[in-house]
Each structure stands twice: as structure tokens, then as C-alpha cells.
């Protein structure tokens, strides 16, 4: 099991909700599987993604990532987990403006010490970035920046790929192609994909779909 979430609850201070944003949430995700999480804005989708990515703590319950329990982990151990096992594609891309496309794609893999030039070339090719490798983020369109963020995440060959609206800035054809690539690489590397999206069309392409509402998974 790559990901196991058991009865996790989380309350956001000053959220004004009057209840936990996540309330006794549980789910499992195996290697090679993909899961789409949908929900209204503010339903807690991104919060759950941050908890799974060891970016934030939770109030109760437990999350196991590749068999490692996240509760009680020190910052250094959480950092190591993020570095080695998880890749995140953020809604705002979070690519480094001062690095060119090639360095941005390689960054996470290099931090983890498992950079693979041929994989990088393959990803760049598949995502249509080969001609843009020496460009800087400010010279790219929003869609191109999003593809760079996806390539950086996939270049790590993570155990778990987390994606927050990864195709939000892409047209329908590009979005389908990128999603197909993500699913293909997840299958190839025996990892798992946890994807947050608003789009039922995108969600339908993944193995499983869950909807988050009122802090509960349905």
C-alpha cells in the first residue's frame, strides 16, 4: 500500500467553518493506482493533499506513506520523505524563476540524488518541452510552465505523485495528453497518483473517484 489514510481529522484555525475541514477521512491507494479527488472550492481537497505530502500536520488519525506513519515525524524526516517519495504538482506550478527549464525539471531528482538524464529527455519530449529547455519561466506561457512542473514531478519517479489541478491551464487536447502521460508513467514506475480536480471529465479518466464534501469523503 503506497498511501493509507485512517480517520484523519484537521481543523483550520480561523476558517469560520465551525467544523473540521477534514472529518474522520480514510482511504487507501495502492501502487499503480490512480485516484481523483473532487469537491467544491474550500471543501478541503488541497488541505488533504498537503497532509498526504507531509507539508502540514493533522489533528488526529494517521497517514502511512509507503508504510511510514507521518504523525510524530520531525521536520528533517518529513523533508526526507518529501524529497525521496513524493512529488507534488502545485496549482501555482512553483517552478523556480531563476532556473531554466532543464534545470527546473532536474531539480527534484537531483535533490533526491537520482537524476536520470535520459528520463528527463524522454519527459521533455513527451511533454513538448524539448525546444524550450534553455528558456526561463518568464519566457513561457502558463500552460508551458504547468508542463514543466509536471515534468519535474515525474522525473523523480516518486512513490506517490500528488497533483493539485495539474491541467487547469491546459486546453482539452493538451490536458488529455498530459494526463495520459502521467498515468502511463505511474503505471511504468509502479507508483500511485493522487489528483485533485474540479473537472468530472478528468476525474473520470482515473481508476477511482472520491468526492469531498462537508469534511467527509463520499
Amino acid at each position: 500500500m503506497v498511501l493509507s489514510i485512517s480517520n484523519v481529522s484537521k481543523t483550520l484555525p480561523n476558517s469560520g467553518l465551525g467544523r473540521p475541514i477534514l472529518d474522520q477521512v480514510s482511504l487507501q491507494l495502492s501502487a499503480g493506482q490512480s485516484l481523483a479527488l473532487t469537491g467544491e472550492s474550500g471543501s478541503g481537497k488541497s488541505t488533504l493533499l498537503h497532509l498526504v505530502g507531509a507539508l502540514d500536520g493533522f489533528d488526529s488519525g494517521e497517514i502511512h506513506l509507503d508504510g511510514i506513519p507521518l504523525s510524530g515525524l520531525q521536520e528533517a524526516a518529513r523533508a526526507a520523505l518529501r524529497r525521496l517519495k513524493v512529488s507534488i504538482v502545485f496549482q501555482q506550478f512553483n517552478i523556480i524563476p531563476s532556473l531554466d527549464v532543464a534545470a527546473n525539471i532536474a531539480l527534484h531528482a537531483k535533490l533526491a540524488g537520482r537524476y536520470d538524464a535520459s528520463l528527463q529527455a524522454h519527459l521533455a519530449d513527451r511533454l513538448g518541452l524539448s525546444a524550450l529547455l534553455s528558456r526561463y519561466p518568464e519566457q513561457l506561457s502558463g500552460g508551458q510552465q504547468q508542463r514543466v512542473a509536471i515534468a519535474r514531478a515525474l522525473a523523480l519517479r516518486p512513490k506517490l505523485l500528488l497533483a493539485d489541478e495539474p491541467t487547469g491551464n491546459l486546453d482539452e487536447d493538451s490536458s488529455d495528453a498530459v494526463l495520459a502521460l502521467m498515468l502511463e508513467l505511474v503505471q511504468e514506475s509502479d507508483s500511485a497518483l493522487f489528483l485533485v480536480t474540479h473537472s468530472p471529465r478528468i476525474a473520470a479518466k482515473l481508476d477511482r473517484q472520491l468526492h469531498l464534501s462537508g469534511g467527509k469523503l463520499r
Binding site: A79, N94, S98, L111
Partner: protein, 822 residues
């Protein structure tokens, strides 16, 4: 992992080269000004230490005649009584407008000769003794002193030694007594034995020697006393400490101004990299390693900047040092080498100061980073908002510091209290500035109805967080310029008045010897001219060196003498020989008031009749009537005198003196020439002050420029919406310049009262404690206006580049603000 992370963090600078330049330039400038001042101080202290070491050798336990000289017969008598002594004669040799201090020692009996002039210091010259003793005689001096040597002395055999202090020449006592025309005088007799009469001579005479026993002392003639070693001269270090303290304060101020640039730049870099840092942490870079990389990064930048600063500082110091040497010589009589030597301690201290400054400047940024939650969205406004919240706290700290400064002035005496006051008030005012500006801009905004003007005021307030450090630096620099400028100009005005009073006579003549002096005076009197002799006696007083002049009663003195306070009948009493006039610095040093008595040797009048200004003189001075001087010191030189003439007669009298008495032209000085020379010395004195205040202002202007230029990216989200609503780019660019002028103008206006307070503290507190004289404060509104205009010009120039970029920016760049592509 570290390598990739390091490369990623460093890559920021490759895309923000101007910010890197601003950071390096800020640190380098701070180091330059600080290290230049330290190099100058270090060089001066090295010169003092060398001089002190040398003079201590000649300042052993001695027999002296307080208030006068020893006679040669005293030496003979004491030798016959069995005292082991070696004589010393000191004096100033003047010739043709040049002068040099001479020390005469008996090279045959003085055991110090071998230590003072080791063979290698004289270039291994084996003919030293022969050259010193044989005609025409030899003198030993520092190589740099040779150019100051009166031409007559150049006929002597010159021995150059780095061991001899600057401005001093050492020779055999026979030659010195001949040159000084004091064949029977001795300044002191250094004890060679360790008891008194009958003791064996020792090569280790000096300050560490045991004094003679009381029986031996009792046998001394009444006019001879024992003087312990190390007291005959004042340490030049203590005399000049205030000057160096002033320079250090200036250097420190410049350093702080430089650090403002650094803190602003580091803060901005950290702010702009917040997204990058967050991403790196999301990608698994441990926080501790990220901090380590940032520390390494800032250390590397600081070290590189420090070396640039040290190189620039060395050249700056080398260019300023000759001026400083002239100041120290002219104002304090302390000679300092004009050539700068490189000292390892200076390099290390400059490096340490830069690293400490960089740490201090980046501490806040690191603290902010430490407190930064990993998931907080990057916000370029966050820093500004936090700063705004801090303004009230800053203002409170500023008020506290100012009150602390005032308290220090009241409780701590002297220079330290003065500098604590200045430091407290200056820093306090700087901390208050953002709050005051924020409030002023807010008030203006509240009173404005036109929408664009409202936006202008609001935008100026929004820009304040990014500019506040630079504006604080500008205020400190402007206040320093106003304060120091007012001090120097007040001093200059007072000095010019004082010169007019002191140099009231039309012509000053120095004859070749006493006989000629008497002859010339008699002849001039026969011509119906008023001759005013300038005769003086030098002696040691409990406050240091003291020169007593004898005045002939003349309306020139009565009408012009620069009295600060005097009894109504002071001149009459002086002429009657019933009192003495003292200089302000002597009065302050000895704590003398009108009517009090000064401790002079028996026979001299002692009641204080008046206190007069004597600016620029490091030593004490007093005036008695000429008959009183001649009664107490009948053998004083009769070489110099002043002449009161009709201006039309001046040329004719000069010609007559030259033709009839063959007095060299350089021995005859016209009033205007003497004044011009004095003013030249004065102006030279404040050359370094002028240079440092302009440099500080330049650094502050640079701080505004770097702030505006680095804030450029943050400005677009504020400007683009206004542009989209129909305000042209040209208008926006002009408004941008106007805003900078507004901020700089407000800052300059606020700097004015601070500068005046600074000038008051410098003139009334610091100067009085440091020099011993108090100066009146004059106001120079035109100078302030010029400074305000200069500040506006600097701010305008600083705003020009960002405004030009705004004027030229393409609409697509502005449109990016509204998309997610930025």
C-alpha cells in the same frame, strides 16, 4: 542534494544582477568608509607609538628647573657634587618662515644613543659619531622630515632614521645650543645613576629608575627639582584622541548607512525568494540545510565585498591621509606619517566588521525565514505590512533612545557623554522617521479630494516600507552634513573674526638674532613707527606646555584682543603688572575663572584678569605686561615684533628693512599673507571632514537608488491597474519621480532640526570637551537650502532609471499583472 540546492539558490542572483550589485556595493561601501577611517587612525596611532617610544628614551627621571631652564653652571655644580647626569636641550628652531623641533643630547655621555640610533636604522653608517661631532655637525631625522627642514640646516650632515619621530631632529647638544642661540641653557638633566651623588653610572637610566634618596634631593639647589620620567611631555595620543574619536564616529555612521542598503537588499532578496525557498522545502530540502546554504551564500558575498571595500578603503585612506597628517600637525602639533602602511590587523578587522555587519543586516531576514510557515503563499506585500505594523514599535524605541541620549548628556561628562547623546538622538530620530512620514502622508491623503492625488499619497505610503531604510540613511547623512557643515562654517566665521583681531598689526618681522632685533626696533621707533615686540617664555605647567607672552600697552591690543570675558579694568591692571590674561583652553584645563589665580612660578603675576579666544592652539597660552615678562625672564628672545603702519607705508618699510638690515623677505610677513596661510591651514584641517560628509551623502543617495531600482518589480502590480484605468505611462513615470522627490524633500525637512541639534552638540559639547574652546553657533540657511536641493537632486536622479523603465515598458508587461503569468 546540497549542490543542487546551492545552485538553485545562487541562480537567483544571476537573474537579479542589479540586486547582487546593490548588495555587494552596499557592503563594499560600508567597508570602504569604515576601513579608510580605521587605516587613518591606525597609521596615526602607529606614528604616536613610535614617537612615544623614542621620546620615552629621552624622558627618564631628570632634574629640571620648573618654570625655566637650567643653567650650564647648574650642570657643572651638580657634576662636581657627584651626580651622574647627561644634559638635554630642547627648543624650536625657526628660520625663514620654517621651523623644526630640535633635541640636543650629549652623544658621548648619553647611554640612549645606541638604543635610539641602532646602526641599522642609520643605514649602517659607521661614520655616525664623527659626522655628528665634527663641523659643520650632523643631525638625525626621519626621512619624511627632511623636506620640512629649514634650508640653513641642510648644510649639516643629515642622518636619516625611521626611529626619530616626524617633525623632530636630534643632534649633539653643542650644535643645538648654537642653533637655538642658547649657549648656557639646558632643558633638563637625565639621571644616569640610580641614587644620586656618588652612585655608579648605569646604562639603564630611564623612567623605570629608582629616585635618589631624600638626602641627595635635599642637597639640590632650591630652583632645581626632581621630575619623574614620562611626565615631561603630554602623550600625543591623549591630545588627539578626540580627533580620532570624531573620525571613528563618522566612519561608523557611514558604515551604518551602508548597512541600511545591505539590510534593505537582503530583506528584499529574501522576500522575493520566499516562493523559491518554499518550493525547495516542498521538494524535501531540510530547513537547517537551507539556512546553512543561505549563511554560506551571504558569507561568500560578504567576504568578496569586504575585499573590494578594503582595496577601495586603502586608496581612500591613502588619498585622505596627507590632509589628516596636516590637520594633526596644525591643530595638535602631533606629527603623523603621510604615507600609509598596510597592516594585517587592519585587513582582519575590516573583514570581521563586514562579516559582523552582514550578519546583523541579514539577522532579521533569517528570523523572518525561520518563522515562515511552509505553506504560506509568497507575498511581496507581507514584508511591507509587517514593517508598517512595526513603525509604532520603532518610534517608541526611537523616543527611548533619544531620551537615553539626553540622559547620558546630563549624567556622563566630556566626550563620551557628548557622543552618547549624539548616537542616541541620531539613531532615535532615524527610527522615528518612518512613523512620522507615514503619519504625514496619511494626513495629506485625508485632505486630498482629487482621485489621482489620493492615489499618489496612498501609493507613497505603500512604497514607504521598501524605502524607509534608505530614507533613514538619507536623513542621517543630511543631518550629519547640516550639523558638521554648520560646525565647520561657524568655526570658520569665528576663526576669521579671531584672525582679524589677533593679526591686527600690518607687518610681522623676524630678525636674524637678538642684537639685530634691538637694532631694528630702535631704528623703526626713530622713524615714528609703532613697534610691538612679540616676546614669550615657554614653560611646563601642570596642564601641559604653556607659553607666556609679554604685551606692550597699545590701543591695537586694547581695541582688538579677542576677549571672551574680562574684568572692566583688565587692560589697566595688566599694564600695571597686577594680573594675567589666559587663553580659553588654559582656563578650561586648569578650571580658572576671572579673579582666580593661576599657579605660576614665584614672581609672575597670577590673578586672572581676562580670558581670550585662542583657536587652533593645542597648548596653553597666557599674557602678562612686557615689563613683567622681562622681569621674570630677562633672557627671552627679542627676534619678533609687529608693526602698526598706514597701509600705504607697508611696501616702503619692507624695502627699507631688506636693504638696511638684509632681513630675508621670508622673515617679513604681511597681515594678509599670514591670514591667508592660517586660513589655508584651517581649510586643510577640515578637508577630511568635508570628504567624509559628502561620501556619506553619496552612500545614502545610492541607497535610495538601489531601493527604487530593486523595488521595481513590486511596483508593477500597483501601477498596472492605474494604467488600465487610463493614466498614461508618461504620467505614471512623472508621478514616480514626483513621489521620490516628495519623500526626499520631507526627509530633508525633518533632517534640518536634527542637523541643527547635531551642530549644537558638536560646537558646544564635543568641541569644548575635545579642544578646550567653545564656539558660537551661526546659522547658514543658504547652505541648508543647497543641501535640500542636493537631496532632491539625488532622489530625482535615483528615481530617473525606474521612471524611464516605466515610461518605456510595453503594455504586454503591464498586462501580465492581470494574468497568472507573473
Amino acid at each position: 542534494m546540497m549542490r543542487a540546492a546551492f545552485h538553485t539558490l545562487l541562480s537567483y542572483w544571476s537573474r537579479h544582477r542589479f540586486q547582487l550589485f546593490a548588495l555587494v556595493a552596499g557592503l563594499a561601501l560600508a567597508t570602504t568608509l569604515w576601513s579608510a577611517v580605521q587605516a587613518i587612525n591606525g597609521q596615526a596611532r602607529q606614528s604616536y607609538a613610535q614617537a612615544q617610544d623614542f621620546l620615552q628614551q629621552l624622558d627618564g627621571t631628570s632634574l629640571v628647573s620648573p618654570g625655566g631652564s637650567l643653567h650650564l653652571s647648574d650642570y657643572v655644580t651638580l657634576k662636581r657634587q657627584g651626580w651622574k647626569l647627561t644634559p638635554v636641550l630642547e627648543g624650536q628652531y625657526r628660520n625663514a618662515g620654517q621651523s623644526i623641533d630640535l633635541i640636543g643630547i650629549d652623544v658621548l655621555t648619553s647611554p640612549q644613543v645606541a638604543r635610539l640610533f641602532p646602526a641599522e636604522s642609520l643605514g649602517g653608517d659607521s661614520d655616525f659619531l664623527r659626522g655628528i661631532l665634527h663641523e659643520p655637525g650632523g643631525i638625525v631625522l626621519h626621512p619624511e622630515t627632511e623636506k620640512l627642514l629649514p634650508s640653513v640646516l641642510k648644510e649639516m650632515q643629515i642622518f636619516r632614521s625611521e626611529a626619530v619621530p616626524l617633525g623632530l631632529a636630534v643632534a649633539d647638544i653643542s650644535l643645538v645650543s648654537r642653533l637655538l642661540q642658547r649657549p648656557d641653557d639646558l632643558s633638563r638633566l637625565i639621571l644616569l645613576g640610580d641614587t644620586g651623588p656618588g652612585a655608579m653610572p648605569s646604562a639603564d637610566s630611564g623612567a623605570d629608575m629608582r629616585p635618589p634618596d631624600t638626602r641627595a634631593l635635599a642637597s639640590l639647589p632650591a630652583h632645581i627639582k626632581l621630575a619623574p620620567g614620562g611626565t615631561a611631555r603630554m602623550n600625543p595620543g591623549t591630545l588627539t584622541e578626540s580627533f580620532h574619536l570624531n573620525l571613528t564616529a563618522f566612519g561608523f555612521l557611514s558604515f551604518i548607512v551602508g548597512l541600511f542598503i545591505v539590510q534593505g537588499t537582503i530583506g528584499l532578496a529574501m522576500e522575493q525568494r520566499r516562493g523559491l525557498l518554499r518550493t525547495l522545502r516542498c521538494l524535501g530540502l531540510p530547513f537547517a540545510q537551507m539556512i546553512l546554504i543561505l549563511v554560506v551564500e551571504i558569507t561568500l558575498i560578504a567576504v568578496a565585498s569586504a575585499f573590494i571595500g578594503l582595496i577601495l578603503g586603502y586608496f581612500l585612506a591613502a588619498s585622505l591621509l596627507p590632509g589628516v597628517a596636516a590637520t594633526l600637525s596644525g591643530l595638535y602639533g602631533a606629527e603623523v606619517s603621510g604615507a600609509l602602511s598596510l597592516q594585517p590587523a587592519w585587513i582582519l578587522s575590516g573583514l570581521a566588521m563586514t562579516l559582523a555587519g552582514a550578519s546583523l543586516a541579514s539577522a532579521h531576514a533569517f528570523y523572518t525565514l525561520w518563522k515562515l510557515p511552509i505553506l504560506q503563499a509568497p507575498s511581496t506585500q507581507a514584508r511591507g505590512q509587517r514593517l508598517l505594523q512595526s513603525y509604532t514599535a520603532w518610534a517608541a524605541a526611537g523616543i527611548g533612545l533619544s531620551l537615553g541620549g539626553v540622559l547620558a548628556l546630563a549624567l556622563v561628562e566630556g566626550l563620551i557623554g557628548g557622543f552618547m547623546f549624539l548616537g542616541g538622538v541620531m539613531l532615535g530620530a532615524a527610527l522615528l522617521l518612518p512613523y512620522v512620514l507615514w503619519s504625514l502622508l496619511g494626513m495629506a491623503q485625508a485632505r486630498t479630494r482629487a482621485p489621482l492625488m489620493q492615489w499618489l499619497w496612498a501609493d507613497a505610503r505603500a512604497q514607504l516600507p521598501g524605502l524607509s531604510l534608505a530614507l533613514m540613511a538619507l536623513m542621517l547623512a543630511l543631518a550629519t552634513n547640516i550639523g558638521v557643515g554648520t560646525m565647520v562654517s561657524s568655526f570658520r566665521l569665528t576663526f576669521v573674526d579671531w584672525l582679524d583681531q589677533r593679526l591686527a598689526a600690518d607687518l610681522y618681522v623676524t630678525t636674524l638674532d637678538d642684537a639685530q632685533g634691538a637694532e631694528v626696533q630702535a631704528w623703526l621707533s626713530q622713524q615714528g613707527l609703532t613697534v610691538l615686540p612679540i616676546r614669550s617664555k615657554e614653560m611646563q605647567h601642570s596642564t601641559g606646555q604653556l607659553k607666556i607672552y609679554g604685551l606692550r600697552d597699545d590701543e591695537l591690543y586694547r581695541n582688538n584682543w579677542p576677549m571672551i570675558s574680562a574684568r572692566p579694568e583688565a587692560w589697566d591692571l595688566l599694564v600695571q603688572g597686577r594680573g594675567v590674561l589666559v587663553s580659553e583652553q588654559l582656563a578650561r584645563r586648569a578650571d580658572l575663572q576671572l579673579g582666580a589665580h593661576i599657579d605660576l612660578p614665584a614672581g609672575w603675576p597670577s590673578e586672572i584678569l581676562g580670558i581670550y579666544a585662542d583657536y587652533g592652539n593645542p597648548h596653553g597660552q597666557a599674557m602678562v605686561s612686557l615689563p613683567q615678562l622681562l622681569k621674570n625672564a630677562p633672557d627671552v628672545d627679542n627676534l619678533r615684533f609687529a608693526l602698526r603702519l598706514d597701509p600705504t607705508q607697508v611696501k616702503q618699510v619692507i624695502n627699507m628693512l631688506q636693504e638696511r638690515f638684509e632681513i630675508p623677505r621670508e622673515n617679513i610677513t604681511q597681515k594678509d599673507l599670514a591670514k591667508a596661510r592660517s586660513m589655508a591651514v584651517f581649510d586643510q584641517t577640515f578637508l577630511i571632514t568635508d570628504a567624509l560628509k559628502l561620501l556619506t551623502l553619496a552612500v545614502a543617495s545610492f541607497a535610495i537608488f538601489t531601493s527604487l531600482a530593486t523595488l521595481w518589480n513590486q511596483r508593477l502590480p500597483q501601477l498596472a491597474p492605474v494604467w488600465a484605468m487610463g493614466v498614461r505611462r508618461r504620467s505614471l513615470a512623472l508621478i514616480d519621480i514626483l513621489r521620490s522627490l516628495l519623500m526626499a524633500g520631507l526627509t530633508a525637512l525633518l533632517a534640518l532640526p536634527l542637523g541643527l541639534l547635531l551642530s549644537w552638540a558638536l560646537l558646544v559639547v564635543i568641541n569644548t570637551a575635545a579642544f578646550g574652546w567653545r564656539l558660537p553657533v551661526y546659522l547658514f540657511p543658504m547652505n541648508w537650502l543647497a543641501l535640500v536641493l542636493l537631496a532632491l537632486l539625488a532622489a530625482g536622479l535615483a528615481a530617473l532609471l525606474p521612471a524611464w523603465r516605466l515610461f518605456r515598458i510595453s503594455p504586454s508587461e503591464l498586462l501580465k499583472v492581470f494574468s497568472s503569468e507573473r
